[in-house]
C-alpha cells in the first residue's frame, strides 16, 4: 500500500519544473532569512567585541566638539584637542579606579605615500600601564618598549607587513624626520591595533612638541565599583569629556534594536512572499488534479487522506527549499559579508554574519512552519472536492 508521503513526492516529481522553481523561490527566501538573522547576531557581537577590546570601561578625552575632532582627524589634522597630563593626578585619588593609562594620538601627513600623500598615525602609550589593559596583544617578535622617552616603536601586524619591518629596523616619522627603532611586532589581533604604530607617549610629546599633553586617558574601575557614580564624579572635572563604554554599548544596543526591527520587517516580507508563492503553486496543482482527486475519493480516500496528501506536498517543498537556502546562505556568507562591508560606512572587525547550527535549524523550522500554514487552504479546498462533480467535470473550480 503506497504511503501518503510517497504519493505526495511522486506528485511533485510529475511537475518537475514547477516544483524546482517553487523550491528555488523558497530557498531564496530562506537565504534572505538566514543571512539577515546571521547579520543581526554578527554585527552586534562584533561591535561589542571591538568595544570590549578597547580594554577600558571609561575613556576620558579632551573636551571639544567631537564633530570638529572627527573632521580634523579624518582630514589630516595633527590631533584631537589636548588635555593636561596633570588630570591623571586627580583620577588616581579616586578609590573606584583600578587602572589608568594615558594616551596621546598624533598624526602626520606623509607626502610620499601614493600620488597625493596620506596620513600616518602614532599612538603614544605608557608601557607600564597600557599592556595590562590589553592582555590579548601578544608579540610575534620583540617586546614593549621600556623607556617612556625612548624613540622606539611597536608595530601592529598589518603595519609591519606593509612597511616590511622587523625588530631592529628603523622607521622615519615624516615631517619630523625623526628615526624610530622598531622593538616589537605584534601578532594579528583582528582589531584596530593591527594597523597601529605604538610609541612611548613621552617620546611622542617631545617629537611633536606637546609636552605635558594627552588626548585621552583609559580608565578601568575596580570590580564591584559603581561605574555610574564614578562617571558622575568625572563630569565635574573641567575641560574633559567622559565616554563610558557601558553607555556606548547601550546606545549601540538601542541602535541595533532599531536596525533589528527593520531587518525583521524585511525577513517577514520575504516569508510572506514565500507563503504566497507556495500557496499559489499548490492551488494550481489541486486545480489540475481535480478529476484525479475525485477518483481517489470515490475509491475510498477520505477527506482527511486528501488533506494530508496536499499538506505533505507543501511541507516537502518547504523543507527542501529551507535546507537548500540554508546551505546557500552558509556558502555565500563571506560574499554577503564583503558586500555589507562595501556598503556600510563603518563595520566592526570580526565576522559580520554569524550562522551557527542552531540558526540554521530555527530557519528551516520557520520555513517548514510557513509551509504548514500555506498548505492549509489548498489542502482544505482539495479535501472538500465532491467526487461525482469532480469526475464529471474536466477542470477544477475553486
Amino acid at each position: 500500500m503506497p504511503s501518503i508521503s510517497g504519493i505526495a513526492y511522486k506528485n511533485l516529481r510529475r511537475k518537475r519544473i514547477r516544483s524546482i522553481l517553487t523550491v528555488f523561490g523558497i530557498a531564496l527566501s530562506t537565504w534572505v532569512l538566514v543571512s539577515l538573522f546571521g547579520f543581526n547576531r554578527g554585527y552586534e557581537a562584533s561591535l561589542n567585541s571591538d568595544i570590549d577590546n578597547l580594554g577600558f570601561q571609561v575613556l576620558l578625552t579632551a573636551k571639544g566638539c567631537p564633530y570638529e575632532a572627527a573632521t580634523l582627524m579624518l582630514q589630516g589634522s595633527k590631533s584631537l584637542r589636548y588635555m593636561p597630563e596633570a588630570v591623571m593626578d586627580s583620577l588616581y585619588q579616586n578609590e573606584a579606579v583600578d587602572k589608568l593609562t594615558p594616551m596621546l594620538m598624533q598624526t602626520v601627513f606623509d607626502v610620499n605615500k601614493g600620488e597625493e600623500g596620506g596620513m600616518v598615525g602614532y599612538l603614544g602609550i605608557d608601557p607600564a600601564t597600557y599592556p595590562s589593559m590589553k592582555p590579548y596583544l601578544t608579540f610575534s617578535s620583540g617586546e614593549w618598549f621600556k623607556d617612556r622617552e625612548a624613540k622606539e616603536a611597536v608595530l601592529g601586524y598589518e603595519v609591519a607587513e606593509l612597511e616590511q619591518r622587523e625588530v631592529g629596523d628603523l622607521m622615519l616619522i615624516p615631517e619630523k624626520e625623526v628615526e624610530v627603532l622598531v622593538v616589537g611586532i605584534l601578532k594579528r589581533s583582528g582589531t584596530q591595533d593591527d594597523g597601529t604604530i605604538f610609541m612611548p607617549y613621552k617620546a611622542l610629546q617631545t617629537i611633536f612638541d606637546v609636552q605635558g599633553q594627552l588626548t585621552s586617558v583609559g580608565i578601568k574601575v575596580k570590580q564591584g565599583a559603581d561605574i555610574n557614580a564614578y562617571e558622575e564624579e568625572l563630569y565635574s572635572i573641567h575641560d574633559v569629556q567622559v565616554v563610558s563604554m557601558a553607555q556606548v554599548k547601550n546606545t549601540i544596543s538601542n541602535l541595533v534594536s532599531t536596525a533589528k526591527v527593520m531587518v525583521m520587517s524585511i525577513a517577514i516580507i520575504a516569508i510572506l512572499i514565500a507563503m504566497v508563492g507556495v500557496m499559489n503553486t499548490i492551488l494550481m496543482s489541486v486545480l489540475e488534479r481535480y478529476q484525479e482527486i475525485g477518483i481517489m475519493k470515490s475509491m475510498g480516500a477520505t477527506t482527511f487522506h486528501i488533506f494530508r496528501l496536499i499538506w505533505f506536498e507543501t511541507i516537502i517543498l518547504c523543507a527542501i527549499g529551507g535546507v537548500i537556502g540554508s546551505l546557500f546562505s552558509i556558502v555565500m556568507a563571506r560574499l554577503t559579508e564583503a558586500l555589507i562591508r562595501y556598503v556600510l560606512p563603518y563595520a566592526p572587525s570580526g565576522s559580520l554574519i554569524m550562522i551557527d547550527f542552531r540558526l540554521v535549524l530555527e530557519s528551516i523550522g520557520i520555513i517548514t512552519l510557513i509551509g504548514l500554514l500555506s498548505g492549509i487552504y489548498p489542502a482544505f479546498r482539495a479535501a472538500r472536492i465532491k467526487p461525482i462533480e469532480a469526475i464529471r467535470s474536466s477542470e477544477g473550480e475553486l
Binding site: 610620499n112 600620488e115 622607521m171 566592526p348
Partner: protein, 201 residues
Amino acid sequence: MKARFLLLLILLLPLFIHAATGCDLNDPDADVKRLFPQSTGYKTTYMSLTKTGGAEALKRVERTLGDKFSGTYETIDVPYSIYIVHKGKDIIGYVHGVNQKGQYGGLQVFLALDNNGVIKDFYFQKLSSKDAKLFKDKKFTAQFKGLSLADFSTYDLATGKGNTKMNSIKNPSKDPKGDFAAIMRAVKKNLALMQEFVYKH
C-alpha cells in the same frame, strides 16, 4: 549620546590607514592612465609563485634576481597584481609593482613595461626616505626608461656594479646606507617576477 558614539567611531578607526597588503595600485584607473596615456582600459590579474611552479619557480626568480627572497615578507604565496594594459583590443603593456624593504619602511615600486619587457615608466607608490624627493625626481626615474631584464641581469646587487648602462644610473642620495640599493633590488625583482609570470610564456 551622539557625541559619545562619534568619539567611539574615531577610536575604532585604524590609526594607520593604508592599502591592502600585497602591491596593488591605490587608484588603478588614474595610475594606469598616467603611466600609459594612450591606453583605453586595463585588466587586473593576480599571480603568485605557487601558481607558476612553487619552490622551483622561487628558485628561478632568485637565480634571476641574484639574491634570496626574505623569509618574512617575500614568501612564496605573496599575491602579485599585474595590470594588463589595452588600447582597444591590443595589449600595449603591463604595470606591475613590488614591495621592497627600505631603510625606513616599505617601498612600493611600480614599473610600466612594454610587450618586450622594456621599462617605459617608473612610479614610486610608497617611499619612506629622507631623500624621497631626490628619488622621486624625474631626473632619477628617467634613468630607468629603456632598460630591461637583460640590462639588470648584469647588475650585481651585492657590489652595485653592472654593464655600462647600469653603471650610468646615478644615486642622487649622499647617504651610503640610503635606499638606492633597495630601489635597484626592487626594480630587478620586479623584472624577474614579470619574466616568470608573463614574458617567459
